[in-house]
Amino acid sequence: MLNKKIEALHKEFLQRRQKEKRYVYSYQLLLLIFFFAGWEVAARNQWIDPLIFSMPSNVFQLLIDRISDQTLLIHIGITLGETIIGFLIGTIGGTLIALLLWWSPRLSQVSDPYLVVLNSMPKVALGPIIIVLFGPNMIAIIAMGALLSIIITTIVVYNAFHQVDENYKKVLQTFGATKTQIFRFAVLPASYPTIISTLKVNVGLSWVGVIVGEFLVAKQGLGYLIIYGFQVFQFQQVMLSLLIIAFLATIMYQGVETMEKILLKNR
């Protein structure tokens, strides 16, 4: 008897939850539609300057044109490739440097002030130096993407390595574990959550680095489309690129988040 009542109440509870979720989704969708519709209407009626802000229908038309003349995909491919490579170098490189610092406490002490300086430095200011170093090409852009994330990754991951509970290491030491084994079985897995949380930050940082890099040197890519569109006063192109970047960056971020859920399932 009681069980039935509880079951009914539970069902009701779930239905209410479902309903609430549907409300949230519909409002989110509504907001999106409202935004684009408002933009379109405001531009058509000259409430905002269509030359500067363009309008969704034009942006969409441009998207279709650029897809059919096959130029857009190349730009997207280049920027996406640069971002992913920069992201990987920044993340993996930062983690490897952190490992090195963990391995040698002396090295970590020596490099500490330099890391602090490099970390506080606004790295995009190094853009010109990087271009001089690597030449005005894709490598410089990737280097910008990686540079932005590598230092902060090093610092955050090294701190995570450092803060692993001594007692976990002690447990392994009592079995006679080597330093490599201690790293592999205790320090690294204990730091997974931190490493993965840096991934999410690094996605954003790599996009910043790559877009800035493309502003400075590129002949192709979404950053180039933005800066070129700006120079020739083609704001449709700027808007289109921005929307594409927002879309791609979100996808990448979501991908990392899904990965995080899978990797940290059992914590």
């Binding site: 002690k170 009592t174 079995f175």
Partner: protein
């Protein structure tokens, strides 16, 4: 089996040099169960870590079955106050980790470890993660992990102090009978005099500043072979408890007077 000769340990910190333990001489027979008691900070953990090879003594030497101890060996198992099971591994994987590191991961050892897990009432938990277990269960799992590579000397640093009283009593019996059955030699650090008497053959009372062994008590013969829970209810238990208690109080009073 285990011999400590003239062990000294000085810790160096930025502020000072701490003379933690001094002049420790001790011989432990095969199959013996020893307890260390004494005031907080008297160097019990330090001596245990030195025996485990985790900490080099400043001077003196330790021999285990005749060989000089220079670092951790697979002959020694060490259990901490908390279980420190790795939260990202299942109970079985946790247990196998010790075997992996000591290069003893084979079918027989894994089977023996799982058998012990079943004996300790955790047979159905081997695929569970540590956070799904109670404190007592986790400590039992940690015990299996320590025993899996089959060490002959076991070191316990207050293994029951984080548990509630009933779980502690149950675990004492379980650890006691498991060790007796496998004929292990063991040293237990504890704050609890009753626990020391109930479980051990001999009790080393530590003095402080620097830490030394002030006195070694022999637990009455017929208490030694009883399960801890039964020993606690033996008529001889209380008089002996009083005797140890008085000595420990003397030591603590002297320390308070000194500081």
């Amino acid at each position: 089996m285990l011999t400590l000769t003239d062990i000294e340990k000085v810790y160096f910190t930025e502020k000072e040099a701490v003379h933690a333990v001094s002049n420790i001489n001790l011989h432990v027979e095969e199959g013996e169960f020893l307890s260390f008691i004494g005031p907080s900070g008297c160097g019990k953990t330090t001596v245990l870590s030195i025996i485990a090879g985790l900490l080099p003594p400043t001077s003196g030497e330790i021999r285990l079955n005749g060989t000089l101890i220079k670092g951790p060996t697979e002959e020694t198992g060490y259990m901490l106050q908390e279980d420190y099971l790795f939260p990202w591994l299942t109970i079985q994987k946790n247990i196998e980790l010790g075997l992996t590191i000591t290069n003893k991961l084979n079918d027989k050892n894994t089977k023996d470890a799982l058998h012990l897990l079943i004996q300790l009432g955790l047979g159905d938990k081997k695929d569970a993660f540590p956070n799904e277990l109670s404190g007592g269960m986790r400590q039992r799992a940690a015990l299996v992990r320590m025993l899996a590579p089959k060490p002959s000397l076991l070191l316990f640093d207050e293994p029951f102090s984080a548990l509630d009283y009933q779980t502690k009593l149950q675990l004492e019996d379980l650890v006691f009978s498991t060790l007796k059955q496998q004929e292990k030699t063991a040293i237990l650090v504890t704050h609890d005099i009753s626990e020391a008497i109930a479980m051990s053959d001999r009790i080393c009372l530590f003095d402080m500043n620097p830490g030394t062994i002030k006195k070694i008590f022999n637990v009455p013969e017929h208490l030694r072979n009883k399960l801890p829970f039964q020993a606690r209810h033996d008529p001889d238990f209380h008089p002996f408890f009083q005797k140890v208690w008085k000595e420990l109080k003397d030591v603590e009073q002297k320390d308070r007077g000194a500081s």
